[in-house]
Amino acid sequence: MHPQLYRSLYRIRRVEEEIARIYPTDRIKSPVHLSIGQEAVSVGVCAALAPEDVVFGTYRGHAMYLAKGGDLKQMLAELYGKATGCARGKGGSMHLIDPAAGVLGTSAVVGTTIANAVGYAYALRYRKSSALVANFFGDGATEEGVFAESLNFAVLKRLPVLFICENNRYAIHTRQDRRQGLPDICGRARAFGLPAECIEDNDVLRLYERVQAVAPAVRAGAGPYFFEVMTYRWREHVGPGHDFHLGFRNEDEVQPWVEADQVRRLAEMIDADTRARIEEDVEAEIAAAVAFAEESPWPEPAELYTDVFQEGPECPVPLPH
């Protein structure tokens, strides 16, 4: 398992670094919310999911999209605004999607996909599917009313949802304790009737084990399960750079997280050859994906007017008037 986890972690880290490297050239004219430092959350969860499982996330969705198997070429092309992007250039970094991989949506309005995930889970349950929905959101999202409403409904209907709160302690530049009267997200989840546990220290292996352990019951109809994963954002909220100079957080706050970096941790847990092969593969894949994005064409002007509606065949039923 470690090689798989390492591949996924390394791949996301390097894609994000590559985006940051390219960004100053202005070829990516899209806001980017990098997940550098937070890769372990998406990787730990998605590694324990089945291909038919579905994920919903946020504008900070690169890691989730890649960890769940979203197409890398299409993702980069999307950031470039090219016709070959996963959303044909119409969604950008904040609206990644890949239905084939079970990546069903990411939103730029905080909290919105929590309710969408719950509804999707209702449909799975209704269809007697054994698939589940994993829903990723930040600590700030838990302050939106939709979070409370969605948890209540998920418990009421015992829906197959894994709620994954990526607690990086900040909403943009504001600390959790300045936004939450009682900064205990698991406690709130439990008050709605959810089993909830907190994974400290961004631990990818522990998270992976725990998701594997609880998923079967969730699939079997035991109801939703809640994980709060403590993690940390190394870069600025949006953009390729750092934000320590802004003074809202102290640079040494990041140190323990860098020391516990899950990418390096997993690297050290696998043998050198495997590691070299993985990194070689990934670098080649990224280089190819960047080239693909660069060389892909822009959408045709006519594309502006497509995709507003899905228009099927004329209504089959006879019209008496």
Partner: protein, 365 residues
Amino acid sequence: MSGAASPLTARRPRFTVGERVLSYVEAVREAADQEMARDPSVIVFGLDVDDPKAIQGTTRGLAAKYGPERVFGTPLSEDAMTGAAIGMALAGLRPIHVHIRMDFLMLAMNQLVNVAAKSRYMYGGRVALPLVVRAMIGKSWGQGAQHSQGLYSFFMHVPGLKVVAPSTPYDAKGCLIAAVRDDNPVIYVEHRLLHFQKGPVPEAPYAVPPGRARVTAAGDDITLVGISFMQVECLRARHYLADVGIRAEVLDPIWLSPLDLDTILASVARTKRLLVVDNGWTCCGAGAEIIARVIERTQGEQEVRVRRMGFAPVTCPTTPALERLYYPDGRTIAAAARDLVEGRPTGWLPDERPDLRDIEFRGPF
């Protein structure tokens, strides 16, 4: 109020004697029932859809027939339940989400405007969102500020949403079937007082698809476009106008988005006069849009006189003494229409005709 006798029968499309007559409530119920029977992906939910009152009866019996997984009441959580409806639609279900008042959609605007309307486009056409949102406009008996709004223009404003406001039992059934079969989000606007309307409704399923207005009464002197319940008032106005020799043509847009402008243009080409009566406020309303489009299309070619009516530009008061003045009605519409036809303020206001009196609505709600 059955067929031939009523002055409102003009609203019936091709009525053949002996045809089955249903109430608007029964028509909505039957449409949902038939679509659920046809397609297991159709489900109905919303606050109180499974309770003894069954949303005025429009969901009566569905829970018993299709079970609690396909028909269920919800927590008081309009925002999340709308988001859930979107998630269900993404998964291929065809949810009908019901709201007893349109005013409550204000709690669902984020999901409707920012997610439902945009998902297909912002995901490059890789998803479809077959979703129907039923919402009712309330009126009279002290519904007041927060239970009386007709906010459909909000949804007309946003690309990616379709909007329909059927005014007859016939269209209520046909439009709901069309909405359920549409692969896009449709806001289906009902009116509490229209629920009491009766009219011919074929038993076999049929669709009244987007983009088709209907001429509900022919005439050559002026075109009256009545939206939702105001369609009834326009048909009343037509009779008052007939008493003074003015022949009004009455149109029902039925679908507000997409809007069938051609039918309106064809009528206006003959009448040269257009009065749009909104079932809401006029500012940035459907009437403003219809008039702007008609003028943009006709200017330079024909001279058309236009006017809008709608709710008074205030909050809806509860006292009957003021509520009466808040809404346009058959008589005030007739008065405005005559002024438009004669091109001057005539000061005329017809006395109420007993056979054109409003439906008696008695509370408590």
